[in-house]
Symmetry: C2
Subunit: 513 residues, 2 copies
């Protein structure tokens, strides 16, 4: 069974019939949103429990259940490991984790996978857990990889059913009102758990900072919360910054970032009302910085920046270059500080950010976004999940959502990484389809998707180094030879969903390289 | 079939099997929340329609469907009449209205009831439409009267199914993000339509003030909105103030208000952290004013006031007497101005305010509330819906919710209104059960519900004029004779639901008085 990006898919995986991807606007959902159980809390009833152990027992968590977490603290996140350790101590088995993402800090999970406490994970596997899963033989069913918007969609549709959501919060009251902006563990916007709070059957708020009722603003409302547990620490906000948040120092990356701004300017896209999605990688930060400079120099005022918000975007808000920040995930402590006090720095959930099966999400209103990749191919397909050796080391994040929504989606990649070609005939894994990718900016030329004749037309006569994507691929192979490919096994270790729930690709077990 | 407040109920009304009320904490819901349809809006698709007529046709509204509205503009509300006129022009019939409340301004609906466009109304009927319905023979099924929290519950459970919600907003963008705080028609907090936006199958935002995307804060999120229609005016914010918002000048009412504060103080309830629900009637405003004076004099700081918010509560926030305002409905223009700029003046929805079938609502955390009544009886039951002549002239509002949630629920009523006794052997209609009513303060004595022996104990030795409720009733009859009762017909014109969906009472057609 082939989908429209040419990937051969099994008809079924782990009892689920796969619906092949057929284009970004070919699938309209039917059916209704998932309805979690009605409940009642009467006056005088307390929600505060003494420990995570008590939360596990009171929610009635059982073998085979699914629990969810968010990763706002990224590599500083501490609650997943605490909860899973407690599950192990209580002798629970066969638990499915549905985190928004896992990070290197979650490496201890591997022990709990080995001992049968955790038997499936549906969510982004960044780093060690992904590396552990890649050879196969690890989980009872493949990991489902979803974009941020796609995960919200899956919760809403019931495709991803969560028995108990654990929502960690740096400030909460005894009724569960909580937000991410205050307290020693503050991480800023709290966009991820909104969907879990709305669709999980039960919700436990875990906090290290219990404050008098009512805590406001309530990113998660008391009406959505069953229990509140206080712990010593939900994690370390310094962990937010892992591996990102420094502007690139590479001259070639800086040049690429400058070319993005020049391309958008030449195409007539940066005008009053311009809105874009900012990223937090080193090159994306440079784009934001250069956009800021350009808009200020040309007295252009933008409507909003959606993020991945950092201090670079806060600067744009504070000097009036943009009117509003929409923030679902704050990426540095300046963003955390800004969302706390600036009413124009507005929290949105990942439902608002990117759930495609709603009345319309924020990404639909973005003029541009700037994204990275591990690989791209001559069909403009993008891989962000696997490395060229087949190892599953990254999640999709908001990549698909931003690409699908934005008028112009720009991928910034070097032509090569060491001796490995980044521009290829065929990506190892299709994470984002070429249907929604418009421009690939490399250090050796810029390729515009031929589908975008409007963009090509508006760039006619440009002195930018516009090239054919096939020429980029030819150059990469001239320099490094044909791309080397991993030796793959039969096992499907992950299913890559498009944000609408159709299937883009599968990730197979890696047997060699 | 008798319920626990002694009302004889039919087993079925209009094909619905009634579940009798059996006490405020006797019913726990089963089942799941209603799931409206999944939908998709792709980039580039517009939601803006040219007219209400186009909204009606594009949503596919058909004979027999249900549409909903909110009443934040109260007697200044203009959208109900506009939409129903358009339904009539389009020849639609047999429409059920599910407004949060109707006001005298909605009297033109009567024509559309007579001509068959509207054949049922589920929502508060204040004034002319209620008077029109009271003799019976008007609607195809009885009106269901619900509290604000009960209505949110009914939407969530699917008991009240809405095909299309019309949400009027004084500011909105072309994607439907909107709030109540800005624009010429600003009415402040926008608590009512949150439940409609979440559970209606389709949502139309009607605005007279379309602003650039993104409008923030988004009380209603773009993800919940299908269409946006711009009209000349959604109504007149001066209409918010109808019949309320002036502090009483009556010496006996002022004395009652003072006694409320004295009672709470003597019972040891007004201490740091004190939180209460404010009302907007003339006597309730006096209570708020006197509480403010008392707390300031005694250097007591409260946690929150839930409202019905007026300038009197804003004063408490601004001088630090309370820490937070939770506002679901603003009752004067000072409240509107405050919610616009003060981050401690926080909007909450009526789901948060009072939906009993959630993880716990705000009313559960109130120490006290002060409410009015048309009648009370010796069992502490309260009538707010009908007059003693049986006429259905008022909605339940937040009455049941506040009473059920608050530690101490105080009803303020005169013993008599003219020659009509207010304290009776049996209220004409049970709107709020005596189970959740603690104190009745009259101009001729204060009756504490004997169920509250804790309160009676804490008031032992008080010089307040504490009396037996039966003595108040005896005094009323001594002065006016036995209460006169209306002559009622067989037709059930309204069903009075308790907030949990069980049935407190029915309102019968009035044949004479």
């Amino acid at each position: 069974m082939y989908n429209s990006v040419g990937r051969d898919l099994p008809e079924q995986v782990a009892g689920r019939t796969l619906q092949p991807y057929q284009g970004p606007a070919s699938f309209r959902p039917t059916g209704r949103r998932y309805g979690p159980p009605l409940k009642a809390v009467f006056p005088g009833e307390s929600k505060v429990l003494g420990s995570l152990r008590e939360a596990i027992t009171r929610t009635g968590l059982s073998d085979g259940d699914t629990i969810s977490f968010h990763h706002h603290l990224r590599n500083g996140e501490a609650v997943v490991n605490m909860v899973v350790s407690e599950l192990a101590r209580l002798g629970l088995k066969d638990i499915t984790l549905a985190p928004t993402a896992l990070f290197p800090v979650h490496e201890p999970l591997i022990e709990h996978v080995k001992n049968g406490v955790v038997t499936a994970i549906h969510g982004s596997l960044n780093g060690p857990v992904g590396a552990f899963a890649s050879p196969g033989g690890v989980f009872k069913e493949p990991t489902v990889l979803r974009s941020h918007g796609g995960r919200a969609r899956a919760l809403a549709s019931g495709d991803l059913h969560v028995d108990v959501a654990f929502i960690s919060a740096p400030v909460a009251d005894d009724y569960g009102n909580c937000n991410g902006a205050f307290g020693d563990s503050a991480f800023g916007a709290m966009g991820f758990p909104a969907a879990d709070a709305r669709y999980a059957d039960q919700v436990v708020v875990v906090t290290d900072n219990l404050q008098p009722y009512p805590v406001t603003p309530a990113s998660i409302s008391q009406t959505q919360v069953d229990y509140v547990v206080q712990v010593d620490s939900i994690g370390d906000p310094q962990g937010i910054k892992t591996g990102t948040m420094e502007i690139t120092k590479s001259p070639s990356r800086l040049m690429m970032a400058q070319q993005v701004v020049r391309l958008l300017a030449e195409a007539g896209i940066i005008t009053d009302g311009f809105s874009f999605q900012a990223g937090a990688g080193g090159t994306s930060l440079a784009v934001t910085k250069f956009l800021h400079d350009y808009m200020r120099q040309h007295h252009i005022t933008g409507n909003f920046v959606m993020g991945g918000i950092t201090g670079f975007v806060v600067d744009m808000l504070e000097d009036g270059t943009i009117s509003t920040i929409l923030d679902a995930q704050s990426f540095d402590l300046r963003a955390v500080e800004s969302i706390r006090r600036n009413p124009r720095h507005v929290e949105v959930s990942h439902i608002e950010f990117g759930d495609p099966h709603t009345g319309g999400c924020v990404v639909n209103r973005q003029q541009a976004c700037f994204l990275g990749a591990t690989e791209v191919d001559v069909d403009f397909n993008v891989n962000v999940n696997t490395h060229s050796d087949g190892m599953l080391l990254h999640g999709i994040g908001g990549h698909q959502d931003a690409a699908a929504g934005s008028d112009v989606t720009i991928i910034l990649v070097p032509l090569l990484r060491g001796r490995i070609p980044v521009v290829r005939d065929r990506v190892t894994t299709v994470s984002t389809p070429g249907d929604v990718v418009d421009v690939i900016v490399t250090d050796q030329g810029i390729a515009v998707n031929p589908r975008r004749d409007d963009l090509l037309e508006s760039l006619r006569g440009s002195h930018l180094n516009l090239v054919d994507i096939n020429d980029l691929y030819a150059r990469a192979t001239r320099l490094c030879g044909e791309p080397r490919r991993p030796v793959l096994g039969d096992e499907v270790v992950a299913v890559v969903e498009y944000r609408d729930g159709t299937v883009l690709d599968t990730v197979h077990s890696v047997r060699g390289w």
